[in-house]
């Protein structure tokens, strides 16, 4: 089964998240000044393309790229 197939199943699943993204607004006091939410911390990396996310996430999961060093055999399938 391909990742895209699984996602399509999830899309038709009643348990899919109902939350939707909103554009954050408002301000937060930082020291002595208020700064606007969402404009004050700039990502250091370019925005990834959706297919890049899917490909790299798929690969990372298959290869256990993020498996902690102290994760014993009970939580690893390699």
């Amino acid at each position: 089964m391909l990742f895209s197939d699984i996602i399509n199943i999830m899309d038709n699943d009643d348990h899919s998240p109902t939350i939707k993204p909103v554009t954050p607004t408002g301000a937060i006091p930082v020291g002595s000044k208020d700064v606007d939410i969402n404009t004050n911390v700039v990502p250091s990396s370019p925005l990834p393309e959706p297919n890049e996310i899917e490909n790299k996430l798929n690969d990372a999961v298959k290869k256990d790229t993020f498996k902690p060093i102290d994760n014993n055999e009970s939580t690893s399938d390699q």
Partner: protein, 177 residues
């Protein structure tokens, strides 16, 4: 950054707590969790991490996985620990300390940096431990339960999406002693 990437920019990001990155290496839930992340991304949420999670992650993985992890972490939007993040991390630390209702024990510096980045960017936080992001400063927006069998026992892992309570945090920052 190309123009297409800008026009497709998500309205709101989800910052992944470091425990979510480690769960992507857990054989019992990694496939379900990665599908959940991709569904959220397709719904319009950006997937992001704080640079502090890179420190935590690389401190806990085998050397053989290090280069692969560094490369794969670029699939997420990376937030720097800049001057505003440092100041807000100190402010939220003071608020937690002064609030007698926050009884979750010590919240480590990495979680406070992730919290302050979420506050400053209006992002949601995805975590497997809500004690890292205490009520009422963070409120639950969505819960995903992963259940699996291990040695004939049913176990569950709960992943939550939390939203900073911006108005409460604004007041707490403005009125703190």
């Amino acid at each position: 950054m190309n123009q297409q990437a800008i026009s497709n920019a998500p309205k709101q990001n989800i910052i992944l707590d470091t425990n979510i990155l480690f769960y992507l290496g857990d054989k019992f839930i990694k496939y379900e969790l990665s599908r959940y992340l991709l569904v959220l991304n397709r719904m319009g949420f950006g997937l992001a991490i704080s640079k502090v999670s890179i420190v935590e992650l690389l401190s806990g993985i085998p050397r053989i996985n290090e280069n692969g992890a560094i490369d794969k972490l670029n699939m997420f939007i990376n937030y720097e620990i800049d001057h505003n993040v440092v100041i807000v991390t100190a402010q939220i630390s003071t608020v937690y300390k002064n609030d007698k209702q926050v009884e979750t024990g010590p919240i480590d510096i990495a979680d406070r940096i992730i919290a302050s980045t979420a506050i400053l960017t209006g992002s949601l936080v995805m975590t497997a431990d809500v004690n890292h992001f205490p009520r009422p400063y963070f409120v639950e927006k969505n819960e995903k339960i992963f259940s699996y069998k291990e040695k004939n026992n049913t176990k569950i892992r709960v992943i939550q999406l939390l939203q900073p309570n911006s108005s409460l945090i604004y007041n707490a920052f403005s009125c703190r002693s």
